[in-house]
């Protein structure tokens, strides 16, 4: 088990290295000139060269890449002109825009994604699995058709359309809720909750659809398994058959996808939701940094998000080992 974990983490590290490399070289091919942006108006060529040097952009890509990797492991110091800025390991670089270590910024934004992602995930998992189970049990009946219909709606509707619609209805039209956004829980729990209701709902509508479909089909598959017939043949009540024997087996494939979804959600992949509701999360940070050509932040956000997805993969495998006695982690 322990050795398995080590091996999985090593494999994850390799994948992260590959992603890092690809991302690094792709983003340094971005059609922009961060030095020029930093230089401001009326920038003379000599001043531009100095700023390039100061940002480390005058070195070859390979050198920059090596520096970056080194920074990840041992940290690095920035600025040879003024007061030096220390960026502790794992150093993802220093934002061209704000001169703050990227990781600091990411960690500042992280609570928003955590709140948004986890809150929505809990809701759509419970609702989706519930709805999918009902649909599978009532296969072909009205409840099933309603659930399938709802799922199709969620799969087909655009997340920003739903988001804007919710904003329009609940904030502008009926003024039931205050403007959405993220308030730290520690600051104002009520505000935290109120500000996240609509973003959560939006994510839930979209993800609920997937989970309903998934649970339903997984459940139907399980229903056809021999052991389900055995359970009925034992004389177990229908509810026990479905909820204990059925759900226990049907939930297993869902765990994989749920883990990946949670990983990518809290890693900042709810870009559109963040953008519609003005939540300052990692997704919005990424979009803004692309627009500002803030390479270290772009690199940092994508790596941060990828890390969560890769880690989620490992966690899912471990959980799988706990959930499915047939899987041996060795």
């Amino acid at each position: 088990m322990f050795r398995y974990l080590i091996r999985r983490l090593l494999a994850a590290a390799v994948i992260m290295l590959v992603i890092t490399t690809i991302t690094f070289f792709i983003f340094f091919a971005l059609p922009s000139n961060p030095a020029l942006l930093a230089c401001g108006k009326t920038c003379s060529p000599s001043r531009l060269a100095e700023i390039k040097h100061s940002l480390g952009l005058d070195q070859s890509y390979l050198t920059q890449y090596w520096e970056f990797l080194k920074g990840l492991v041992v940290g690095r110091d920035y600025g040879d002109q003024s007061v030096r800025i220390h960026c502790g390991a794992p150093c993802l670089g220093i934002s061209f825009q704000t001169d703050t270590p990227v990781l600091t910024t990411l960690l500042q934004d992280f609570p928003a994604d955590l709140s948004l992602g986890l809150g929505a995930a809990v809701a759509f998992l419970i609702l989706g699995v519930g709805l999918g189970t009902v649909a599978a049990v009532r296969r072909g009946r009205a409840a099933d058709k309603a659930a399938v219909g709802l799922a199709l709606f969620g799969v087909s509707v655009q997340i920003y359309f739903i988001g804007l619609l919710l904003l329009y209805l609940f904030v502008d039209k009926f003024q039931i809720l205050p403007t959405s956004g993220y308030t730290p829980f520690t600051e104002d729990p009520a505000g935290w909750f109120q500000g996240l209701i609509l973003p959560w709902s939006t994510l839930v509508i979209v993800y609920l659809a997937m989970y309903t479909r998934l649970t339903r089909s997984s459940m139907l598959e399980v229903f056809s398994e021999d052991y389900m017939r055995t359970a009925r043949a034992k004389g177990l009540p229908a509810a026990t058959v479905v909820l204990k024997h059925g759900l226990r087996a049907a939930i297993t494939p869902i765990i994989t996808i749920f883990g990946m979804d949670v990983g990518s959600l809290i890693g900042g992949s709810a870009v559109i939701t963040e953008s519609v509701f003005g939540i300052n999360g990692i997704g919005k940070l990424a979009v803004d940094s692309v627009q500002n050509s803030d390479l270290p932040v772009i690199l940092g956000t994508t790596l941060f998000a990828a890390t969560f997805v890769v880690l989620a993969n490992v966690v899912v495998d471990l959980v799988y080992g706990l959930v499915d006695p047939r899987v041996r982690l060795a």
Binding site: L30, F161, L214, L220, I272
Partner: protein, 343 residues
Amino acid sequence: MTTQHQPVDTGGGTALLPEPSIQGSRPGGTAVAGRSPARMAWRRIRRDKVTTVALAATLLFIAIALLAPVLTALTGWGPITPDNKAINPDTGNFPYGSLGGISAKHLLGVEPGTGYDLFARIVYGLRTSLYVGFASALLSTAVGVVAGLAAGYFGGWVDSLLSRIMDVMLAFPQLLFIIALTPVIQNALQTNSHGGTDENLRLLVLVLNIAVFAWAYTARLVRGQVLSLREREFVDAARLMSAGRRHILFRQLLPNLWAPILISFALAVPQNITTEAALSYLGVGVIPPNPDWGAVLSDASQFFLQDPMYLFVPGVLLFLLVLALNLLGDGVRDALDPRARRG
């Protein structure tokens, strides 16, 4: 979604016994002789009312897109012909009249700001959506099939490498990457020197970019299918007859893969249309004045208090388009893979 569930129909009684005396496998106990799988699938689609309606709706959308020039000729307003008389310059070029300027002249009203005819924007925008959706799905399916075939058939290090690449592709936070990659690819392909962004090239860039992140799903599916197929007798038979690899891959395996390929294509189209619209909504997709629904929605989101029609019309239409394509995709899957029936 990474798993393709294939629930077995519960109605058919207990599992079939292996019958040593009987050659081959018997499909489902109710095989109807003399019908090709394609014809059976077509029959199932036709018999499924929902899928038939979805197919009709999809064909209608395609027809509208193809006939866009004709339709706009009928109304007299093209997608980039502003009607300055329909907007009020004193209110920030807000449309005159109610419901966003709906009138006999402008069936769906006009865009605030530009005075473009919304109907024309919509029918031309549909072209964009369908073009990007279908082209990227074609591309990603083609790449995915080749990669999946290679990984599944050759196995060994080819499989390891390709599977690893698929894992990495699937691990990428895709939307983030597509957002970031769009300017990169655009820049790499851009040949004109004026430094701006070519709006038609952008369409191609979007197709490429979306396909880059979509092929891994198809590849995974095809790989799994190949792995199970290559153990089957007819491949062994072909191998024994010392058929070439290419022959086995493309003549023996590929024909048996058309069902999963078609399914993944059918499900990729609405997914890609959604992605394209989302990118345009975030401002990194189609470049105006090329009409696009996502871009219209993005624009409309700023006016949704004052001019809700501007938001609702493209929003609902985009929903209907994606819904129709999703239903069609489901229908195709059900028809080709009866075990995955909706019920």
